[in-house]
Structures are given as C-alpha cells and as structure tokens.
C-alpha cells in the first residue's frame, strides 16, 4: 500500500513538473498539426514557428497528426489539444480537415508541407472531389503551400532531367500506391514522357526498365527485385516514394550482397539528417539527388494565419479570383524546368484553384552535388543542435521576413510573401 501511495505521489509530481506554466497573455494559440514528430526538419519547424510566434504575440502548440492521415484520428488529436485560446491551425495533413473546420468554424486554417489530395483532387470536369474539398467553400481556409512541387508532372520532369544530366542509361522507378499518393503515378508518367521525349533525339536512348515498382509502404524487396529482368544492372533508381527510408537501406544491402550494379545511384525526395545517410550523398555516393521543401517556407503559413487573425488580410489575397498563373504549372521543357528549379527565386507556382484558394509550391531545395549536401549539413538549420543555432542558420531572420507580415507591414502583399517563401533554395546555404 505504501508503494502504491508512493507511486501515485510520484505521478502527481511528474505531472506537476510536466505541466507548463499558463500561457502568457497574447493574441492566442496557433496549433501546428505536424506530420513529423522528430528529426532536424521537425526541430527546425518548431523552433522557427516559436520564434515567429513570439515576435507576433502568439503561442504555438504542436499537435501530432494521425500517423496514417486518418480523418477521425486528426479530428480527435486536434479536439484533444484545443483550448479556448486557440485561434489558428497550420495543418500538414488533410484527413478530416473538413470535420475540424466544421467543429471549429471560427478557426483560421492554412495548409502546409503536404499535397492535400483530400482537398484539391479534381475529377475530369474540374470539380473538387476529395473528402475534405468542402474546406474550399470556407473563408477560414487560407490555402496551401505544399511540399516542394505540387505538380507530379513537374516532379517527374525534374527527376528525368537529373537522369539525363547525369548520363544514366538504364533506370527504374518506384512509387507508393496510387490510391494513397496519386502524385507519384502522375510523376512517374511525367518522368517517362520526359525521358521518351529525350530519347527521340538522343544518340544513346535511356532505357526505363519495366513499369514503376509499387512499394506498399514497405522497403524494396531484395529477395525479388534484383532478380527481375533488367534490374541487376541498373544505373539508377528513381524513387518518387520516400527513398531515404524505403530504397536506400535495401540498395545498401543489395550492394553488400553483390546482387545489383555496384555503381548504381538513387534519385529521390525527402530529407534525413542521419549522419551515415548524409555521408553517403553526393556526386559519387549512393544518393545522387534529394528534393525537398525549403525549410524556411514555413514563413508562409504563419504569415497567412497572422494576416487573417489580425484582420489585416493581404489586399491582393486572391479570394474568389484566380490569382496565380496556371501557365507556370506547365513545365514541359528543359529550359523552363531549369529556370524554375535552379535559377529562379520564384520557385514554381501552381495554378490557383477556381475558388482562388492557392495551392502553392514551397521553396524547392535541389540537393544534387557533394557541395550542396555539405552545405545543407554544415550551414543549414538541419545541422544545428539548439534553437538559437537553428534560427541563426536559417536563410531568413525575423528582421528579413517581418515586412512580409501584414500585421507588421500594412503594405505587404500576398504575391511578395509567396515569392519570398518560394525563393529559398539550397544555394542560399552556399553563400
């Protein structure tokens, strides 16, 4: 009995210690529904959001999104975290978003770091058909800045260009199931079309071996994959899926077993600050290219939420008008692709939807050389170990960004904010 009492008292103390002090008086709390719960990217987002929130007079609370983007799971997690001072939600998952907005109609919501297929999926007639498409009818939904390319075609073409530039002659692709990640299938098609176009004029055509291998959220199967026709001597695997997790370990193992081409390399997306993995990225390493959202792009959702909450919405916010040039989305030539990805500070803007809810590309980081990998590890916030270091290494300090916030600068514009947030590239870390 004494032990029981001791345990209970210990728990009370633990809970007391864990409970944070009451939040300071301010403009309210912004929830960040995060699809990450650890890693350098997550740490940076938390630090950066807290820095911006502090400057603007908010508090930020992290809510973990449902691990599988289940509508009920996301709704439950937000409801559990919701307190009377919550004024905004930055959502990185779209499952159940319509239910969250119906539950809290006064909550300002903005999307970030995700494709939001449940919101933006259209049928052939152009009508939105996703389970959360209803949020587009709500004034309190402020749009989306996605995770690098919104357009699957643009992503596929970008990877195809990398294959061409690198001189690979025999490649294969991997995707997640189309029902879960429709963009991958589009990207794969874009990739193949781009390669096919290249082959029309190339002296030595590039062979794409077989159809895309669909990984059912499990790693590439070394027991079968390399023994299928043409896979044992691939030059490159293009992973539209999360290749650092689902391809890289298998490839390492296959190379160790000698069942694949020793010189084979991986082109994929995402970011992983695992030291061993990062040490294996570069011109002559196993991972030749990573594509990820620019970390500082998280300024955009914070600025949008702040503008809405403070009642200073940008004068040029598209509202019900088509604001963005849908032509920019059609990136169908090498010149355009290179201009957008490698040279332009604009990034690639996607077509605004018919209701004027912008679905935007984030700043895009193309990490495809040893120097760039080293720059990311050594100079970017991803290599930092504490909040001050993270914020110090970011491409934008509060002084740099504050004039893009409508509550700080009444003359700030939506277009300038968007362009600013799309302008961050890996080259920014190389200066």
């Amino acid at each position: 009995m004494k032990k029981l009492i001791a345990i209970v008292l210990t728990l009370v103390m633990l809970l007391g210690i864990a409970a944070a002090p009451a939040s300071a008086e301010g403009k309210g709390k912004i929830l960040y529904l995060s699809n990450l719960n650890s890693g350098a990217q997550y740490e940076f987002y938390v630090s950066y959001l807290n820095m911006m929130a502090k400057e603007l007079g908010y508090t930020v609370e992290i809510v973990y999104a449902d691990g599988f983007n289940d509508p009920a799971g996301n709704l439950k997690n937000v409801k559990n975290a919701y307190t009377s001072d919550v004024v905004g939600l930055i959502a990185t998952q779209d499952g159940g978003l319509i239910n969250i907005m119906e539950e809290y109609p006064d909550l300002w919501v903005v999307g970030f770091f995700s494709d939001f297929d449940a919101v933006y999926t259209k049928d052939e007639s152009g009508a939105y058909t996703g389970t959360s498409a209803g949020v587009l009818d709500k004034d309190h939904f402020l749009g989306l800045m996605g995770d690098n390319f919104i357009s699957g075609t643009a992503l596929g073409e970008a990877y195809a260009q990398e294959v061409i530039d690198r001189g690979f002659k025999k490649v294969a692709t991997c995707i997640f199931p189309a029902y879960a990640y429709p963009k991958h299938t589009v990207a794969d098609a874009g990739f193949r079309a781009y390669i096919a176009k290249h082959n029309e004029t190339a002296a030595e055509p590039i062979e794409i071996v077989g159809d895309a291998t669909v990984l059912n959220f499990s790693p590439l199967d070394n027991n079968t994959y390399w023994f299928e026709d043409g896979h044992d001597d691939l030059d490159c695997i293009v992973g539209f899926c999360a290749g650092t997790t689902f391809l890289y370990p298998s490839v390492l193992e296959a190379k160790a077993m000698g069942i694949c081409n020793e010189g084979m390399q991986i082109i994929t997306g995402g970011f992983d600050n695992d030291p061993d993995l990062m040490a294996d990225c570069g011109d002559d390493k196993n991972i030749i290219r990573l594509t990820t959202a620019a970390f500082e792009s998280i300024i955009w959702p914070m600025a949008m939420i702040d503008a809405a909450i403070s009642g200073n919405m940008y004068k040029d916010y598209p509202g019900n008008k088509d604001q963005l040039d849908s032509g920019i989305m059609i990136i169908n030539s090498t010149e355009k692709f290179e201009a957008v990805v490698n040279n332009s500070p604009m990034g690639a803007a996607n077509d605004a939807d018919r209701l004027g809810k912008a679905q935007l590309d984030s700043g895009i980081m193309v990490i495809n050389s040893t120097e760039k990998f080293e720059a990311v590890v050594n100079n970017s916030p991803m290599g930092a170990t504490n909040d001050a270091d993270r914020i110090g290494k970011a491409q934008a300090s509060w002084d740099d960004m504050k004039n893009y916030f409508a509550s700080v600068n009444p003359d700030a514009t939506y277009q300038a904010l968007t362009e600013y947030c799309q302008s961050f590239t890996v080259e920014g870390y190389m200066k």
Binding site: L15, A20, Y64, D70, G73, N80, A118
Partner: protein, 331 residues
C-alpha cells in the same frame, strides 16, 4: 483483546485488498485523474468539464469503450483478439460503401453484422478446433483484413471515402446518444456476462478450461459465443467511428486493438481472464485513458510528453495488477 481485534481488522483489510486490489487501483486511478484534471485545468483557466471538453471526452472514449465492453468477454476467456482494429476499419469502410450504394445505413449495418459474425465464429472456433492459441487466428484475420482493405482502397483509387450527405449521421456525433448507446450495450452485455451461462462459462473457461470441459461444458460453443458478442460490439463501435467524421480511410482502426488492451488493463482486467474478470474494467479503463488524452494537453503538457506519461502510468498499472503468481498473458 484490543490488540487481537486490531490484528483481525488488519488481516481482514489485507484480505479485502488482496481480493479487490486491482479494482481499488483502477477506480482509484480514475478518481485521481478526475480530481487532478478538475483542479489543474481550473488553474489554467480551462475546465475539463466544460460542454466542449466534455463532448470531446465522450467522443474520445466512446469507440474504445464500445469495443472494450465486447472485448471483456474475450479477455475473460484468457484470449485476446488483435484483429479488432482491422475489423473496425473494414466495417467502417463497408458502412460507407454499402451506405452510399444503397442509400440505406440499415442495410450496411446488417451486412457488416453478417460479416462480423462469420469472422467471430471462425475466430472463436479456430483455436479449439485447430489446437492453437486463439490469438493466432486473430493475427491471420488481421492480415487478411488488411489485405482486403488495401484492395478496396486500391480499386476505389483514394485513401479516404466519405458518406453521401444524403445519409444523416449527426446522431452519431451527439454526446447524449453516445452515452445512451454505451449504457445500453453495457446493460445488455452485462446481463449476458453476469446473469447467463454464456458469461459464467466464459469466465470458467478462462479460469480453468480443463475443469470446465470436464463439467460437461461445450468448450467450442462457449468460446464462439463471446466472439459473436464482440462482433456486435465492433459493428456498433464502427458506426460511431465512421459517424464521427462521416468518413473512413485505409487506416481507420489502426492500433485500436492496443487501445482496447491498454484500456482494459488500466481498468483492472486480469490478463489471464477467469472469474475475476469484470465488465466495469472496460468503461473505467477507457475513461481513464481518454481523460489522460484530453486532460494532459489542457494543462500544457507537450504532446510528446503525454505519450511518455501515458506509458509510465500503463507500466505502473501493469506492475500493480499483473504481477500475480502463475499469471499469464492472454493467448
């Protein structure tokens, strides 16, 4: 004389605690959570008993409690069913698909009940007929249903599906209706569990299957019936799970079997089943689990810390309630 009386009283108290230790711990844990969060959320200028938070709490607890009430029957056998989550996922999906196709929720419910009963019969009888641990057949079902779910969503071409607006689901989001259904389910299952041979034999099988069998009890029959009770409870839970958002996804139900297990253990359910199994474990455990989920964020505990605290509490309860001589894990 006084010393002897005092010693007798102490012995009586010890015996009572020995007999009801897990009940004291589980109810005590719940009361502690209620008191703690009532006080601490008040200090934060919030109230866990406000209308909105109470609604959140009931919404959080309902699905787990509905499943756990049915699962008590299975755990009383000394078994566990790890296919619970996948079953709820499948039934939620079928409710949407059949509901949309027919325009009738009733038809969808009946179809789900039919499938659930078939799964329950196979799940309950396989262990005894094939001479294997019952949990194995539930593992098989978990994998099969996972595959079925993948095929369904692959064919549909999306990860989320939602019920047509024509079918009104608002009733399933009403806290009073949630409480009413839970109370009815508790009463019905409680009747069968405590006042009929179905419950008595189930607990007897959990306590000593050999002795129960030698008493003339049809082991297969009385192992199957609890799974049928669970099947009905799972379909009921699926209705609320799907009704919560009017949608289902390929991941609906993921991990629910663990929620049920944690809730039952927090509620003081003996893992080896038997005569000490109590239906109240389901509700007490689910409430405690949800109070932690809803209360901790209000008092400012960071999300990552809530997992740690819940895990620590779970560990403490397991250490208190499950360290019994000859105790075994469910199988």
């Amino acid at each position: 004389m006084t010393a002897i009386t005092h010693e007798k009283e102490k012995q009586t108290l010890r015996q009572w605690l020995k007999k009801h230790g897990s009940s004291v711990a589980s109810i005590g844990g719940l009361l502690f959570c209620v008191a703690f969060f009532t006080i601490t959320t008040g200090l934060k200028g919030e109230s866990i008993w406000s209308a909105s938070k109470l609604s959140t709490l009931i919404g959080d607890v309902i699905v787990t409690a509905l499943m756990a009430v049915g699962a008590v029957f299975i755990y009383s056998l000394g078994n566990m069913d790890v296919s619970i989550g996948k079953q709820v996922g499948l039934y939620s999906t079928l409710l949407v698909l059949i509901g949309n196709a027919t325009g009738s929720l009733l038809i969808a419910i009946l179809a789900c009940l039919a499938i659930a009963v078939i799964i329950g019969v196979v799940n309950g009888s396989a262990g005894e007929l094939l001479h294997m641990y019952s949990v194995i057949s539930s593992v098989v079902f978990m994998m099969v249903l996972s595959g079925v779910s993948t095929i369904i969503y692959s064919n549909i071409g999306t990860r989320n599906i939602s019920m047509n607006p024509g079918i009104d689901l608002t009733l399933f989001r009403q806290p009073w209706f949630m409480v009413l259904v839970l109370a009815i389910e508790y009463a019905v299952i409680g009747y069968f569990f405590y006042f009929t041979k179905f419950g008595k034999y189930a607990r007897a099988i959990g306590a000593n299957q050999t002795a129960t069998s030698q008493s003339g009890v049809n082991i297969i029959l009385y192992r199957v019936i609890p799974y049928i009770f669970l099947a009905v409870c799972l379909v009921t839970a699926s209705l609320f799970q799907m009704g919560y958002t009017g949608a289902a996804s390929d991941s609906t139900g993921t991990g629910f079997e663990m929620n049920v297990m944690v809730s039952l253990i927090l509620g003081g359910m003996p893992l080896k089943g038997g005569m000490k199994s109590r239906l109240s474990c389901a509700v007490i455990g689910s409430l405690t689990f949800s109070l932690l989920a809803v209360g901790l964020p209000i008092i400012g505990v960071p999300t990552n810390m809530t997992f740690l605290i819940k895990a620590a509490i779970f560990l403490v309860v397991v250490l208190i309630t499950c360290r019994q001589k000859g105790g075994a894990l469910p199988r």
